[in-house]
Symmetry: C2
Subunit: 317 residues, 2 copies
């Protein structure tokens, strides 16, 4: 059931002991949106906490500054930016109990009792900002920092086509509400350990081009990470770069996980639909950015994608 903004307001006001779920491999949008929502609920005197399957990368620590880390039996469960229960990781068992999901992924599985879905929003943070605005909820500086972080990170710092006029205007408002846009972007986009540059360099040394140079494939093994002393944050850096090679319409990054399996990230330009392509392998996401798990033979999974892309582009593989 689709929840209007006023209905979202009702649910949040009626909520008690709220568990806010975010997705695996957390990013600035799910964490920023979750933390902003948590801050609002705390301001109402409710108990609320944001959880995630796995550790929260250190660079996101500022989002949670001053938030209590409480352990309680939740009475209300809200998921933010979580399109699919599978992305809840160890919290997947709670999927049936999610009262409200606030999301912007067109691929949302509508698993929650009620879903406020805004697929045109570049970030779940924009959806929550609109909710706060329309409900007249005051946004303080920490909330503004959280929402700005979500908005900025999910739009590639306003670089991608999902950053529309509303997103820019929301950013302006959030900056006026105190969001530290410069330092936040420096932390999110302009600071990477040297090891990440080295992994990028190594990955490009092994770059493969397919489909007349319209598809780039970069593969990162656990060994490459170990050799450079890099962690999996390097994946994201390489993924962003995979689509930036001139002429490339689809950048494919194959990222080996600790268990040896591979995840595949797609970044596309028009006309390729990353979400539909990843759907072939059971994944999903956005039109221009999506992901999926590779099968046991990751090169076979890659070929499934390449074959479909070649067909769609009408070129030889």
């Amino acid at each position: 059931m689709n929840a209007s903004i006023s209905r979202v307001g009702e649910v949040l006001r009626a909520s008690e002991d709220v568990l806010i779920l975010t997705h695996k491999n957390p990013d600035g949008d799910c964490l920023g949106t979750g933390a902003a929502l948590c801050r609002y609920l705390l301001s109402l005197g409710k108990r609320a906490t944001v959880v995630n399957d796995g550790p929260i990368p250190e660079k996101f620590g500022y989002l949670f500054e001053g938030l209590p880390q409480e352990d309680f039996e939740p009475k209300t469960i809200v998921a933010v930016d979580v399109a699919d229960p599978k992305l809840l990781g160890r919290y997947e068992t709670l999927a049936d109990r999610v009262d409200l999901c606030i999301d912007h992924h067109v691929s949302n599985k509508l698993y929650a009792r009620e879903t406020h879905l805004c697929p045109d929003d570049g970030a779940a943070a924009l959806s929550l900002f609109r909710i706060f605005r329309e409900l007249g909820i005051p946004i303080d500086k920490p909330m503004a920092d959280c929402l700005y972080t979500g908005l900025s990170t999910d739009t590639g710092c306003f670089r991608y086509s999902n950053a529309n006029a509303e997103a820019y205007r929301a950013a302006a408002d959030l900056i006026e509400l105190g969001a530290d846009n410069g330092p936040i972007n420096t932390k999110m986009f302009e600071t990477k350990p040297l090891s990440q540059f080295q992994v990028l360099s190594d990955a490009f040394a092994g770059l493969r081009l397919y489909c007349d140079g319209k598809v780039s494939v970069l593969k990162i093994s656990q060994e490459m990470l170990r050799e450079r002393g890099a962690d999996t944050d390097a994946f994201e850096f390489v993924t962003a770069m995979s689509r930036q090679v001139e002429g490339v319409l689809c950048g494919i990054t194959m990222k080996q996980q600790e268990d040896g399996s591979y995840k595949i990230s797609l970044r596309t330009h028009e006309p390729l639909d990353a979400s539909a392509l990843c759907g072939l392998l059971g994944g999903g996401g956005h039109q221009r950015a999506a992901g999926c798990n590779a099968g046991e033979d990751e090169e076979a999974s890659l070929r499934v994608l390449l074959k479909q892309i070649a067909e769609e582009l009408g070129v030889e593989l």
Copy 2:
């Protein structure tokens, strides 16, 4: 003399046969601002043209679409985004004749008869946008594309701290006026020849760290460019990356020119003032991004900068 917005309006309305000067090694801001101004003057039925010392990189071609390339004896000369007559290259001889300069560089030499200087603006395009807005000048889609380009490129696509709320709001307005933000940013930021990634990779292989890892130095020779088939656009890519290494407060890129000499680009984080540092070698720019020419011994010039940085940071060189 500082020109108010209404005075700028008077000068522009009274102008005739207008030559618009932009700076050497042109970027999206001087070209976008220049082209937007040119489009306005043409809309008034005047003759106007944008010139630059040297060829305009192909990727900026869309800014000039539909603009006549006329050759005429100028009666009015306007410089945009040009802080110093030296940056005019072969047009430096016209410096004494510049009627109006619209700029946002705090280091502006005030060489023009009148200068409209807005050092708080992240881009000259923002200054011109404000001029258009306050004077009630209609902004059509091509003008919006030009202004958005200037605004986006000079703020690192709204990533740097020079992107304030007004800049974001201007971007929102420009998008609503038709600016193709997604494709523009793709072209400006998200598309680089493979050769640039290769030069980046080579440059990082030779990375030097100074001042307890707070300064990174990347050096690019003409031979490195030749080997990878890259042009000088690679400089900018590497320059942007030089500051992104964790812990680095000043990224220094040494860029060999075709004549064998070196230019030095600085990108800093607080508390280092890039413009003041480059001033030591006769250069200038912004607080966080500036440049200068190296002397004949480029390593000696580098040492001048390193010594000053070490002193300011209170660390060993």
